[in-house]
Symmetry: C2
Subunit: 338 residues, 2 copies
Amino acid sequence: MEHKKHTPTIKDVARMAGVSIATVSRTINGIDVVNEETVQRVRAAISELNYIPSSAARMLASRKTSTIGLLVPEISGAFFQSMLRGIERGTSLADYDLLIYTTQHILANSDRRSPLAENNTDGLLVFAGSLPQAELLRLSRSQFPVVLLHQTAVEGVQLPAVTVENRQGARSLVDHLIEVHGCRRIVYLEGPHEHEDSMWREQGYRASLDAHGIPFDPALIGHGGFNRHLAQAAIEKLLADNIAFDAVFAGDDDASIGVLVALREAGIAVPQDVAVVGFDDQDFTAALLPSLTTVRAPTEQVGYLAVRQLLRRIQGETVEMKLVLPTALAIRQSCGCG
Amino acid sequence: MEHKKHTPTIKDVARMAGVSIATVSRTINGIDVVNEETVQRVRAAISELNYIPSSAARMLASRKTSTIGLLVPEISGAFFQSMLRGIERGTSLADYDLLIYTTQHILANSDRRSPLAENNTDGLLVFAGSLPQAELLRLSRSQFPVVLLHQTAVEGVQLPAVTVENRQGARSLVDHLIEVHGCRRIVYLEGPHEHEDSMWREQGYRASLDAHGIPFDPALIGHGGFNRHLAQAAIEKLLADNIAFDAVFAGDDDASIGVLVALREAGIAVPQDVAVVGFDDQDFTAALLPSLTTVRAPTEQVGYLAVRQLLRRIQGETVEMKLVLPTALAIRQSCGCG
DNA sequence: ATACTGTATGTAAGCGTTTACATTCACCAT
DNA sequence: ATGGTGAATGTAAACGCTTACATACAGTAT
């Protein structure tokens, strides 16, 4: 009747090993010097009792959580998966935990239990559009470690960011369409509004038009939302409106799926009648028929580097304010090549 | 000089509102009755001070973390993304946090900082193949709330599980191939070995062969690993070995991409020369050309329900031991239809 | 007046760690 | 013998909450 069946604590270990809890703590954390023999005894007790330190107690006492938070507007798109993989690699390499938050709810009802995970993490990775400006401002002022993903410009705030070379990538892509395939009426499907990527890509698109003396036609801008279904609807609308075009820059690869489907259903041949290009170079792009011409973006690497940056900030080091990873054209068949 | 600039605690709130910390705690958590007027004062103090409760302290004091952990072998495949979305929906609806662990490292060096997140979460969602039997056994015995994903049979253990109807789905798929398209030599690309799904799908495949009097030919089994690249290699190997076949059941949609690419490169027409079918019905399948015939699996729903089950277990309720969600044929063109 | 009831709040004991500081002891130089 | 040193360990005070229990008070029934 003497087993009160409770999960073992550091005290139990200490008692069993015949030492004080301080010594147990020391051997667990490997700080200070502990006699080798004592270490052995403590280790033995730990595995004997199947002891697992309470991370809550540890966090409370040490004021650090060994956890980083990831804020995303929503989990969707194969894009996200690559980034997450990079992030997970970064955190687990550093022995940090990863907490994921979707902010759609937060944005809607502001009455969340944990206002912002600040109390729950040592730092935050914030994906484009997951937080309103005001919140970002507050975070920045509070000195809480934050790294922005695919978002660089926050009005009046300087927060470190990691993103990819959108403008140049889009520019080369559209250049290719114009120069190699003679396209003149190129549709651009923009992404979500909060999403800075879309703005840069559009700038690249416009710059290319400019450089080639092609006037910008607002009628050729559709809303693809970086999303398959929206993109499909956007193309259907253009078709219904009888807007003529000879190419579609879908905004990203996800959207290009919708474009492909819409065109196919309308009996329009790709790339013979209309060229289609995407952005990101996701896994499935090579398997589409025609295989998709797109821009390769090192998405996993973005995630990984963002974690590295964040970890540095948590350590109090100063980091590069802006990391822009290079992109490269991935020419396949949907533009008319091959 | 009296601002020692520390993050506000419950004490600061209490002082400012002129009440005791107990009252603050009560109003925050909405338990017990608190005078409406007092509530207002406390609320005001909270927002004035920008107070955020320390979740570590809260966890420690209440012995619950409001967090659930997700264990996956690795983050890959579009499949994962759907499931994660469902899981996230479930957790955020219940105001729980979500902690993600990739177990490849754990499986390799067993000397992780947090042996298993048991101390860190109120319950665990364990995806197929992320944990060795022994560990599962230990968890099961420790009474720690666990729900298995896409894995039902753990030797000697009864743990609640959520999965999809693999066998029947595969069976219908192969039936279709045989009955409608007259296929006789159907390749099956198996998934990762730890992955129970693959086993069931193979059983469905075999059952269909049996039912149609077609002998099982081991030469037609390849290793696709539910992965695009492995699948591509597997098909290339079959081709190189001169094994004749008139259809490929790729195991899952990811693998079918590899199959499509391998066949295309070999100049084999789909579906004219060889029919190709997948499993899962991921987002991109409809955009492939030919569009992919596959089996629709409610992956997001699996994630969502798994969370519900887990939360029930955490609440101490008993739950259904096995939830098997129905699958349905998604007939498109890659089998020869349409 | 007295005792009871219910409402609103306060008091203080944990929760399981980390860590600054104190202690002990052996050893060596004086 | 005396003091100083360093290594190994112990003591106890946080850390910021939750919650069982105690208290205070107003209203109501006796």
